[in-house]
């Protein structure tokens, strides 16, 4: 959708709002009159039609989960982290939206009596979520750039903390009451400003494929150090709040340190023994799992008893678990689904029920909110930026690092809820800080894209990925066995490989298109490159597998599978011109198109696979690539022919058939054994389709030897498609353009018909030429057409 169309839609929606409100009030009244007796337990819990609390809570949970998923998906569609959508869903269920629009229904569905039960569920969810966070914290992240990271992360805490304390001077008389000491208030506000959400940040980094870049590793290290320090600060803040003085908190702090020491030594030793046990048996038994869960709860209870919050105990246990890949991974996989899908949204809903955006009902309050937001952003961004620049990091990277560290998201919400429960933070301040957390997280992805766009990321790939030589610069820098006069590839084929084990034929075709076959001899005058592209799709935004460490592991696995596949082709010197690209993404088609553009690919060669919801071979993901990609695309329908020696090109003088013909000629030139038949079909005795002028010229340019292997018969037939199908019985590979003649045409809604693909006897290569927008009409008509 164009930007102006989006704006028009928004304006239309805005004007619809009053009518929506009237409709909602009407339904609210009707609903509450119908079901109020059943839902209400205000009147008499013993009444026959009163809904028992467990049922009500389950109903609430159902609504919460459904809405979280829906809104989460919506946020993914606008390229934001899914977890932010879930937080917003929780807020929507509270007095900020649901309570505003349909107060009677909201009261009936979420009465005060049910809230404590939601609280219990959300505490349990929080404990296990913090355990998962601790599990993910991998010392591996701390291995590089440690000195820069420690400096940057400490400054990125000290600056917002100081600014937060100063802001407390402004806020305390306005939004706090005298049951809270100023010290506790200032400490809490400072801690809230210093938070960086490590989990959300790690996922953003993985999604942008930054985890192996200098920026990515630095950001992760900074955020990890930042996270741990901020939790310590929070623990102190909680201790001070509970005892209302710094001195009074000292015993609590000492006890915490003793406990941490105990966990890092005794418990860690014990857990390491346990993980050795796991390695021996190779599976996580229920007994072991129950022991670990009991440990999580016990640890949480201990820290609560000490005087810091439940979450620290759970986090600690996760952090001291041995970072043995097998045990940790299986533990995370077993725990995360239920926690992330069921329990965590309840926490967001519980938090949302306490968020009252309606409290900000005057301009001065919104101004105050803006001040809080400003301080938060300035503190984090400026602190990180200046520290990074002082360490010698480039301007752009330092800026990107600043925006990344500004992400507060989920961790901030946890801190704020604790503050609200303790009474340090009042409902108004809570709401302001929640808004701050959401806005700062929301702005990270777009600002990161703006300061550090993807094309720059490619240049920054560190030495580990030197075989990812998709850019000239990195190829130049690759100082391995290549000689100084190595030619840069002038023809690049991008081959999306969904499943390395089954796409041998596709890769073989790509190699055949790219390079002359063995034994052709001669120098590579026009060297070509094949880039098998393996995109790892991370569907579950918050799962363990989307942490940078895990993503790396999956990337290595794919890389080795691809290498195996390339080996199996038995093409000599494949490594010289076959360079795999492996990336993480959540939108395969869009990423493919982007990579094709950045890489300046000449052709995308994609394999056919059956899409989920239709049987059209050109629908689904292939169709998306056809729509998004701005380069020529060829779709390969493999029928398993080992050799591609007899080529058939049905020709009807249009640009797509021309492309098909060119590809066929390339194959022809690359191997002496190949023969080409260019088939023209005359319908009803019409004059034959003339070979286009272009084609004639190309034919003249070919060496005689090649021309001798080409035949150009003309066939009379009523239906061109059937003629081609008949001819394909004798061919190994048919190459057809996307034109109506051959039953593969683009329809009005962008779908392609695929008749030929269904009936063709041989393997089929469907060629679609990319034609840029016709600029003559664009300014006159509002639409643009694309072939």
């Amino acid at each position: 959708m164009l930007a102006c169309e989006r704006m028009a839609l928004l304006v239309r929606l805005w004007y619809l709002l009053p009518s929506i409100e009237l409709v909602s009030i009407f339904f609210d009244r009707q609903f509450s009159q119908l079901y109020y007796p059943a839902l209400s337990i205000r009147k008499n819990p013993q009444a026959k039609n009163a809904m028992p609390i467990p049922i009500l809570v389950l109903l609430e949970v159902l609504i919460v989960i459904a809405l979280s998923r829906l809104v989460g998906l919506g946020f993914r569609a606008i390229k934001q982290p899914q977890v932010i959508g879930e937080i917003v869903a929780g807020i929507m269920l509270g007095p900020s939206l649901f309570g505003l629009v349909a107060p009677a229904t909201a009261t009936a569905l979420f009465p005060a009596e049910a809230v404590p039960f939601l609280n219990v569920l959300s505490e349990v969810g929080l404990i296990f979520f913090m355990f998962l966070i601790g599990l993910e914290l991998n010392p591996k992240y701390l291995k590089s750039n440690l000195d820069i990271a420690i400096l940057t992360s400490h400054v990125s805490i000290l600056v917002p903390f100081s600014l937060g304390s100063l802001l407390a001077l402004l806020l305390y008389p306005i939004v706090s009451n005298n049951s809270v000491s100023f010290t506790a208030f200032a400490l809490f506000l400072g801690a809230a400003m210093s938070i960086t959400a490590f989990p959300v940040l790690a996922r953003i980094i993985t999604e942008h494929n930054l985890q192996n870049t200098k920026l990515g590793t630095l950001a992760l290290t900074c955020a990890a150090v930042d996270d741990v320090t901020a939790w310590c600060l929070l623990a102190v803040a909680i201790a001070v709040t509970r005892t209302n003085s710094m001195i009074g908190a000292l015993p609590t702090i000492i006890q915490s340190l003793i406990y941490i020491g105990f966990m890092l030594t005794v418990v860690r030793w014990f857990l390491q023994r346990l993980s050795k046990q796991y390695n021996r048996t190779g599976r996580l038994t229920q007994l072991l799992l129950s022991g670990i869960y009991m440990g999580v709860v016990a640890s949480a209870l201990i820290t609560e008893w000490i005087g810091i919050h439940l979450i620290f105990g759970a986090f600690l246990l996760g952090a001291v678990m041995p970072k043995n890949a097998g045990l940790t991974r299986e533990l995370a996989e077993k725990t995360e689904d239920f926690v992330l899908i069921f329990l965590l949204p309840i926490f967001f809903a519980y938090s949302g029920l306490r968020t009252e955006i309606g409290l900000l009902n005057s301009p001065e309050l919104w101004l105050l909110c803006a001040a809080v937001l400003g301080v938060a952003i300035i503190g984090k961004y400026l602190g990180t930026y200046v520290a990074a620049r002082v360490c010698g990091i480039s301007n752009r990277e330092a800026s990107a690092l600043g925006w990344l560290m500004n992400t507060r998201g989920l961790t901030e919400l946890i801190v704020l809820n604790i503050g609200l429960s303790l009474g340090v933070v009042s409902p108004l301040l809570f709401t302001m800080l929640v808004i701050m957390a959401l806005v700062t997280t929301f702005m990270t992805s777009p600002l990161l894209e703006w300061t550090y766009p993807k094309r720059l990321i490619r240049l920054d790939i560190s030495e580990v990925n030197s075989e990812d030589s998709e850019l000239e610069n990195s190829q130049m820098a690759d100082s391995s066995e290549e000689t100084a006069n190595k030619l840069l590839p002038t023809y690049r084929i991008l081959v999306p490989v969904a499943n390395p084990s089954t796409q041998k034929g596709l890769l073989r075709l790509a190699v055949a298109l790219a390079q002359p076959a063995a034994g052709m001899g001669g120098e590579d005058l026009q060297s070509a490159a094949v880039h098998p592209l393996s995109l790892i799709e991370l569907n579950d935004d918050y799962a363990f597998e989307s942490t940078p460490a895990e993503a790396d592991r999956i990337i290595q696995e794919r890389r080795s599978k691809l290498s195996e596949l390339i080996e199996s082709l038995e093409v000599p010197e494949a490594q010289k011109f076959v360079h795999p690209i492996i990336r993480v993404t959540n939108d395969v088609a869009r990423e493919t198109a982007q990579i094709a553009e950045i890489d300046r690919a000449d052709l995308i060669l994609v394999g056919w696979h059956r899409p989920t919801f239709s049987s059209n071979r050109l629908g689904g993901r292939v169709g998306q690539i056809l729509s998004n990609a701005k380069v020529d695309v060829a779709i390969f329908v493999d029928r398993g022919r080992e050799r591609l020696n007899n080529l058939l090109v049905p020709y009807a003088a249009n640009i797509h058939d021309d492309l098909g013909l060119e590809l066929a000629l390339r194959l022809l030139v690359n191997s002496e054994e190949r023969r080409l038949t260019v088939l023209r079909v005359a319908v009803d005795g019409e004059a034959e389709n003339n070979l286009s002028y272009e084609f004639g010229r190309v034919m003249d340019q070919l060496p005689v030897e090649v021309r001798s292997r080409i035949e150009t018969p003309i066939v009379e037939a009523a239906e061109p498609i059937q003629a081609v199908v008949a001819a394909s019985a004798n061919a190994d590979l048919t190459i057809a353009g996307t034109s109506r003649e051959w039953g593969i045409e683009r329809q009005t809604l962008g779908q392609y018909t695929d008749e030929l693909a269904v009936q063709c006897h041989s393997s089929l290569l469907i060629a679609r030429c990319y034609v840029k927008v016709r600029s003559h009409l664009a300014s006159v008509l509002s639409q643009t057409t694309q072939y």
Binding site: S165, N178, V180, T183, S421, L422
Partner: protein
């Protein structure tokens, strides 16, 4: 790894952390001494409504106040059994501020059946309250905005909204 333990780095961290701690100490000292926040008056207050004007004169009235510093919001409801429990999301209909002279609340009373039908136009009438909190009671004046006379009232705090603090 040894880099960040060098004298220069240690000195830097020492100075940075030291200065922030000093700043914090100064700020908290200033704040504790000079800054006063509003007293905690959030809670539920029960009225003796006999002396209250017009439609407010039902059997028992309950005022719930939510506080965020100087910003107050609240609800005035019938205190009989039905209306006893506060719902999770009851929209506050009274808004106001805490000033040094006391609290100031005004707004509609949609939860009081009597007041809803009182005016000819069928709109909710609104109330205006001013008062001070002395220990557990709230004393002040209340009036319906379309009537000029303000009546005195006294309300006793019931269950105050207390934060959870550690008990040992």
């Amino acid at each position: 790894m040894m880099n960040h333990l060098s004298l220069k780095s240690l000195a830097f961290y020492g100075i940075a952390i030291g200065s922030v701690s000093l700043l914090f100490k100064v700020v908290t000292a200033y704040g504790e001494a000079n800054l006063k926040a509003a007293p905690a008056i959030a809670g539920t207050y029960r009225f003796d409504p006999k002396s209250l004007p017009e439609c407010l004169n039902s059997d028992v009235l309950v005022l719930t106040i939510e506080q965020s510093g100087v910003y107050l919001s609240g609800n005035l409801r019938s205190g009989s059994r039905e209306g006893r429990e506060k719902t999770a999301q009851e929209k506050p209909s009274l808004f106001g501020r805490w000033e040094t002279q006391g609290l100031n609340l005004s707004g509609a009373v949609p939860n009081l059946a009597g007041c809803r039908d009182s005016t000819a136009t069928g709109q909710n009438s609104s109330v205006k309250m001013r008062g001070i909190v002395e220990q557990e009671s709230l004393k002040g004046k209340i009036s319906l905005t379309d009537k000029t006379a303000a009546t005195d009232f006294t309300a006793q705090r019931e269950a105050a909204v207390q934060p959870q603090k550690q008990e040992d």
